[in-house]
């Protein structure tokens, strides 16, 4: 059965080390960190990845005041993607446009702030904001994009922990395949670095990265890693059916040829290597390609002891006998952008289709022997003869796994 072909025609992003694809890509190649110290409420200074984009480039101050940081990130990314796509959006039927964004969580930032204010106001609930509900409903970041761009088609977020970025992209593709929409904004966003609760919970779990030098704090696969650096960010793609993109002569970044998602069903937080392998295998099967044809695998690699070891084993199991498959990771540069991570990390690798460079990881100074693998790009960029296929992994709590495969078009 032939499948509807879906392509990426625009990219908008904000990361701790870049506010567009070119800046982000350069930072990855040059190993420019986006991690700084942040004063976390009640906790003191911790390394975190914060984005420095212009919130009012596409949004009025009042809309920003009413909405959320995640919504603001989404509006910036969606507008940047739209500009990049060069589509005549005025002429597009807005009822046939959809917005599908992966999130790890949403509402912690707003709830924490309201409770903080409640305590400042002697627990007077009469001063609780009427904005609390529209800010914290889980569709909020996607709905803010629809409000901003006057899109009347569907919008929703896909709650999928740290697999969110991949899952948003997959859902966008599926909505196009189903014929529910003709143009999709799809990806992931996160405002999690603005909370204290997520920092405190990772600290309690023994999984929050600490380092006197914030740029050294996120060090996946390194022997001396000590946890996750929490970051905010966003990456939204414009997706179209191949024939629609061709008809309007759109620039095509790549084709979503395969994807898969499954569940460990074994633990709330600990990963499961076997299910991760299954997920990658299913994505390859859907893409109808051999594992040998994958040129780059981007690991989820968060910098936790267990997470990196389990995923390294999964990637070795899959690709150890593949001479031409190279492996990299992104969180050393930008920390863990949570719901945005999958979409951002994929974007960081897409320029490889043209420049054939595999960007390196960062802070991999002493390889953890349990993470060691062939063709891991941890030090400096590697130039390949060609890059045609990228596999992007994103995994999350409650055992959610996702893999996306993009092919050069």
């Amino acid at each position: 059965m032939s499948r509807t072909r879906i392509v990426i025609t625009g990219i908008g992003l904000t990361a701790p080390n870049g506010n567009n694809l070119q800046e982000f890509r350069n930072s990855l190649l040059e190993k420019k960190s986006g991690i700084k110290m942040k004063d976390v409420r009640y906790m003191g200074e911790y390394p975190a990845g914060l984005c420095e984009f212009d919130e009012t480039k596409y949004q009025k101050k009042k809309a920003r005041r009413r909405g959320t940081r995640a919504g603001s990130i989404a509006i910036y990314c969606a507008n940047e993607a739209l500009v990049d796509s060069k589509i005549d959006f005025e002429a597009v039927d807005k009822s046939r446009v959809g917005v599908f964004l992966g999130i790890t969580e949403h509402g912690n930032v707003e709830t924490e702030e309201e409770i903080y204010q409640l305590h400042q106001n002697d627990l007077n609930v009469d001063l609780w904001s009427h904005h609390h509900n529209p800010r914290t409903v889980s569709n909020s970041p996607a709905g803010e994009v629809n409000l901003n761009l006057k899109i009347t088609g569907p919008h929703f977020t896909i709650g999928s922990a740290c697999a969110g970025g991949n899952m948003g992209l997959i859902h966008g593709a599926q909505q196009l395949m189903l014929g529910e929409v003709d143009f999709a904004f799809a990806g992931g966003v996160s405002e999690s670095a603005q909370t204290f609760g997520i920092f405190a919970a990772f600290k309690a779990q023994g999984a929050l990265a600490v380092n006197e030098d914030p740029t050294k704090a996120s060090r996946p696969m390194d022997r001396d890693r000590n946890g996750i650096v929490i970051s905010e960010g966003g990456c939204i793609y414009t997706l179209e059916r191949l024939e629609d993109a061709q008809k309007r002569g759109a620039k095509i970044y790549g084709e979503i040829v395969g994807y898969a998602y499954n569940t460990d069903a074994t633990d709330f937080v600990l990963p499961n290597t076997e299910r991760q392998v299954e997920c990658m295998e299913m994505a390859l099967k859907k893409a109808q390609i051999s594992k040998e044809s994958v040129n780059i695998v981007n690991m989820h690699a968060t910098g936790t002891k267990a997470g990196d070891i389990n995923e390294a084993l999964a990637v070795r199991t899959m690709f150890d006998d593949c001479e031409n498959t190279y492996v990299n990771f992104t969180k050393g540069h930008i920390g863990h952008a949570m719901g945005a991570a999958g979409a951002l990390e994929l974007a960081g690798n897409l320029p490889s289709f043209n420049d054939h460079l595999v960007h390196p990881g960062m802070n991999l100074e002493n390889m953890d022997p349990e993470c060691a693998m062939k063709n891991l790009v941890g030090d400096k960029p590697v130039e390949l003869e060609k890059v045609d296929t990228i596999l992007n992994n994103s995994f999350g709590m409650l055992g959610i796994n996702s893999s996306v495969i993009i092919k050069k078009y």
Partner: protein, 80 residues
């Protein structure tokens, strides 16, 4: 507070609630909603800020008293 001080309080709150608007051009006798991009959520914000900053309660039946800058001053001055 004097009427002039109450007027400034209201203008300060409107500036915060509607940061894209230029409040210095407001005609005090004309409807605020006709001059500014204010909706019902903004009026709830104004009421909330009066409660927070000045402990002034504005019951919902009195919301029409906040229609113009002049009517705001007339209504709020005895309360502040």
């Amino acid at each position: 507070m004097t009427a002039e001080e109450v007027k400034q309080v209201v203008l300060d709150i409107i500036s915060d609630v509607a940061p894209d608007e230029e409040v210095s051009d407001i005609n005090s006798a004309e409807s605020l909603r006709d001059q500014l991009d204010l909706d019902s959520m903004d009026f709830l914000d104004i009421v909330m800020e009066l409660r927070k900053r000045h402990s002034v309660e504005v019951p919902s039946e009195d919301y029409p008293r906040l229609a113009t800058l002049d009517s705001c001053v007339e209504y709020l001055t005895p309360k502040m």
